[in-house]
Amino acid sequence: MTDQPLASTPASPPAGQPATPMAREIIARGSLLQDAKNVSVPLKAAGAVAGLVFLTVNAAIAYIVIDGRLDGEWYDFRDLGNAMARLRAELDDTSAGPWLSYWVTGLIGGVGILSFLGGFLLIGSWIERRMLARFQIRVGPDRVGPFGLLQPLADALKLMQKEVLTPIGADKALFLLPPVLVFIPAMLAWGPMPWAPNMSYLDINVGLLYVISITSLSVLAIWMAGWSSNNHYALLGAMRTVAMMVSYEIPISLSLIVVVLLTGSLNLGEIVAWQGEHNVWLGALLPFAMFTFFFSSTAEINRTPNDIAEAESEIVAGFHTEYSGMKAGLFLAVELGNALLVGALLATFFLGGYTAFGLEEWIPPYLILAAKAGFGYFLFIWLRGTLPRFKIDQLMNFAWKYLIPLSIANVLIVAVEASIAARWDVEGIFIYGSFAIVNLALTVFAVRAWAKVIGYTPDLEHPVGPRFASKIGGLEAAREIQGGT
């Protein structure tokens, strides 16, 4: 069955009559909405009462837990971070020792992050498929549940039912591990994300370095998956991924160094607090760094302009070609989760994190961060619906010849600016406003100049004759086949 509604077929069936038996069956099946309408009134009333009771109980629990039963102050749901800090202080005061507060807050924070991520995984693939369909003037999944909302659930159930195969000749132990290992960095990298003031799971001083280092770990899991599969396509995809990730980690690190230079902190919470304090988004000050981070991240997480690691049309599915069932599902889920993670990191570093020019006083800050992360995710979908895929040589050239030199120049410029900002005692809006204008102008100028110096010239890049083939006598054989001398 396609996604298209079976409306009109050229065979001209009688009016009001479905064209095929299957269409008849589908129409007779009835929708969820009709089922909902057919429910009897007492049952509806009972359901409404039960729902209300459920909501009331929840509100009461929230009131007791979050509200100021702890010290008499009122905390509403905007102040989840401060409520947590208060809770931790209370737990520290008890005689049980620090382990109790670590356990309780760790449990709450971990469950919170996991449920946010799990909720996104449930809805994310539906969002992506529907939006892509919009871009490509299709309908997208719209059959399972209202608007097709239950499609990811159905997909997951289908994947769980499928048999998990291990190919003959595969390295069994190494084949088993990667779907699990690839999940670990994707989860851990959420740790230092600041959701609100006082609300981050790992409030560490080396947060930015931690994020870079943890995300670089997934390379190994991907390589293990590709190598152990005993499949050429898988190995090719894995080696492509490894080469690409190693190359693009450098621009990412350079673009984040710039952030550190300006804000003077590696702590993600302090970076966001700096942006909130100066009422400026770093993306406006550092447009080139933001572009570099965003573009390089697409390479890191295999999104479309750079998804050669699993280019379907070239090497089947890349490193997870041989994985079936829920193992492949785990890889896909990690891909989705990483897209949201990069969106959240982009928001944290360059788009002001949980701050939004004072709006965070009225809206819960974590919702602002979630919205910005969702915006980043939308950007990825947009790119996927718009851009074609790069070739591997274009991709490597872009990283090494364009992004890295320009990023180094960017680091130099921003270092000068940071020292100016540290020495001059001028009103922030003037100095940062001028920086924004200067940086934008410099970025445009530098990119144009650099592109003129080493523009992409395909004639020089491609060899004129087959070098390796001629070495091993392939040229002669080819001439013979062609009927030449």
């Binding site: 080396v206 370095l209 670089s216 190994l220 004759g465 001629s470 054989a477 013979e480």
Partner: protein, 192 residues
Amino acid sequence: MESTGVVVAFYVLSGLTILSALSVFLMRNMVHSLVFLVSVFLGMAGLFVTLSADFIAVAQILIYAGAISVLLVFAVMLTPLASRDNANSLYVGPGVILGGAIAAIVVFTAIDVEWNQLTGVALEERGFVSTIEMIGEQLLGRYVLAFEVASVLLLFALLGAIVLVTNRDEDDETADGDADEAATTGVAEDTV
């Protein structure tokens, strides 16, 4: 002084690290050795965390588990399949001697040095802010010479890599010449 959690973490992590380190040279397959080597790096990072050395721990993950291991991946994948066997090596004897010497140095240092153990208030009295700031000040203050020497060395390594992979004109000419030779001698005529 230490809470039970730190002690338990220390034993678990050191057990993991030592077992993985043993597996690195007990595994017959080079790829498995590599995976265990990464596990050693991660275990070391965990040990650094238990010592409150957060910057060192993260740098360990970033440099060793993230970068060095990828280098080793390339090294292993680019070697021929036949040599991808960890069975025996010429360097077992010297390796054992060298390893023993390094272990002896480390143990001797650990026993000989009088370690300063400062926590909480005592640390703050000495002007300790956070590990990363202290490391930065030391690197660009007292040890700036070593820092500069290391960066110059890395720059040379980078330039050397670029020089090695640069496609020189002479190479192209010789490659073309070889192709012409192959075409003129016509080795392939006898075959097929």
